[in-house]
Symmetry: C2
Subunit: 359 residues, 2 copies
């Protein structure tokens, strides 16, 4: 194997090499303090400084307004599927969901445990090959919140303009920090870290202050947003390593020039790959063009046999993790923020050669 493969995994996903190097150094001896990062008390001055700096850089990069709290929680986005309705929905109320794939379906299932759920739109009948545009659905007036998934990893679809609601809740796990957004349009944004932000084991939640007052008193302490907002995510021992590594990723992103620079890089990377798909009939994109994701590019080859061969031979030359999700099949190239352009250039070249040999 080469020192470093190109890792197209949908998550946990590739991270910047300089982040890995720094995390490795810090694990053994943090800042020459004679103690490893993962051995430090979460209440130590050093670790609190890490958390504060990580939050400050996230606020800076995303221009998070002062009336929003940033929380670092455990349990991944899947726990948020339950926490959102547990905190914002009651049995006599309704929430509105846009169903654009496996992740929204799972969120809908959890919400139904707590109240009424109105699924205002579903693209399931076309294997979730697109996301809705405004006008494609109606949000009931009584909806406590409108929930959507900004990027759908499995199908390779992404919203390029967002739904609108007074309390807009977004699962942004797979495209947070990839493009500038206006946080003030959202009630809650949450995201598992293991795609664009860091390692698995931490979900970032950005929540507007007024929503904290809607949280019922009689829910378990750990599942109340208010608990974590009131304690600066230190109610109990937080996922220290994940928070630190997120901090390193944010510093890397800041060093590159921030989200608008990253946005342009992501556009360039996605354009390269979609151009390779579009120039031939051998490769066929799964997502409708207007819903195409810049994070996960999904496509098929003429037969499942060719797809299997494509993936196996790609792995052999260090282009790894390209197997599509079983519900779509085919190929999926996950090209999050930290995925290097050279990897896409190599993939495009490989696609050309593969088609010549097998087309």
């Amino acid at each position: 194997m080469p020192d470093r493969i190109f890792n197209f995994s949908p998550g946990p996903a590739t991270l910047p090499q300089e982040v890995l190097a720094q995390a490795a150094k810090d694990i053994i001896n943090y800042n020459n303090k004679g103690i490893g990062l993962i051995e430090m008390s979460h209440r130590s001055k050093d670790f609190i400084a890490i958390t504060d700096e990580t939050e400050a850089n996230l606020r800076l990069l995303l221009s998070i307004p002062a009336n929003y709290k940033v929380l670092f929680l455990q349990g991944g986005a899947s726990t948020q599927f339950a926490m959102v309705p547990m905190n914002l929905l009651t049995s006599d109320k309704t929430a509105c969901y846009l169903n654009t794939g496996v992740w929204s379906k799972k969120a809908i299932k959890e919400a139904k445990l707590f109240g009424n759920v109105d699924v205002a739109y579903s693209s399931e009948s076309s294997v979730f090959d697109h996301v809705p545009q405004q006008g494609d659905y109606t949000v009931p007036a009584e909806a406590q919140y409108l929930y959507f998934v900004s990027n759908n990893t499995i199908y390779g679809t992404q919203y390029h303009s967002f739904p609108s609601h007074e309390t807009l809740v977004c699962d942004m796990s797979s495209d947070i920090l990839s493009t500038p957004i206006d946080i003030s349009k959202f009630g809650i944004i949450f995201a598992g870290a293991q795609k664009n932000m860091g390692p698995a084991g931490c979900a970032v939640v950005i929540i507007r202050d007024d929503l904290l007052d809607r949280v019922p008193e009689n829910i378990p302490t750990m599942f109340k947003y208010k608990t974590h907002a009131d304690s600066g995510s230190m109610y109990n021992t937080p996922p220290c390593f994940a928070i630190h590594t997120i901090g390193l990723v944010l510093k890397w992103l800041k060093g590159l020039g921030g989200i608008s620079v990253m946005d342009a890089m992501n556009q360039e990377k996605a354009d390269l790959l979609y151009a390779a798909i579009d120039k031939t009939d051998f490769y066929k994109g799964h997502a409708k063009v207007s819903s195409r994701s810049r994070m996960n590019v999904t496509f098929n080859l003429p037969t499942p046999e060719l797809e299997a061969k494509f993936i196996t031979e790609a792995t052999a030359i260090g282009l790894d993790g390209l197997k599509g999700h079983r519900s779509v099949g085919g190929v999926r190239a996950s090209i999050y923020n930290a995925f290097p352009k050279q990897g896409i250039q190599q993939l495009v070249q490989y696609m050309d050669e593969f088609e010549k040999k097998n087309g």
Copy 2:
């Protein structure tokens, strides 16, 4: 600072240096695969092998019977405070709790959200300076389970013989793997990793199979033990780095000779420190002798001023993290499995010298 201080922190806590070195190496390039450990898909063969080996070693070290599942969850022990009653208690039923400190109090608070709670014993009136013996309390016949905390980090108390119940639930966060136990006497054992097992960000749950059938259907997917039992802790992305590091700690423990060897080492370490406390009136242990913990040794000096001086001067010579919890004050030396004997020898020597200068 020296290359390595002695870290008496109650958790996250000191880890074996060889574990840190291996974790650091793996983060950059796992097993020469050209991919960092924290970048690998949790569904990859390599990561599944890590989880399987970690579970197998835990089963081996603790002699976990086949009718118990091992789960690697997020959210720490604090999430277990809610998950236990959510899974095992209903509003018309009763659970029995032994209150021996902050952690059991927090667990009692969560249980009350789900059903009746009988607190059969409390040592609160004596600042939790002891744990009860069997016979000190009566468990109601109708109790669905009996809950206790095997080691109380804040007060430095520990059970040296366990309560008994058909469904015995134990928060073993701070002394799991420190001494041989008979798992078959328990219904559920859970433990946050960040004391004896690894970094923060993972709680290990050991649960008897029959209890999985008692889990109500209508609770959120992520909070059901059954979800994680049925999916081998892979329902969603698990805390990969924490699981891997736990795996490294277990290999280290196996290499040392397993839990009975560790048990003897822990006894020797604790004996050294308690002997230093007992041989003078300058230092006074907080816990009653029969309840003394081998993991967290708590003691006071004649005045709060002397305690502050003791802690500050200790930190300056590389004996760090000795400040007691605010509810007890004084000094706390947390000496979990990975804490080296030399650190205790240095502490004992420092205690001698400090008393000579200030006594």
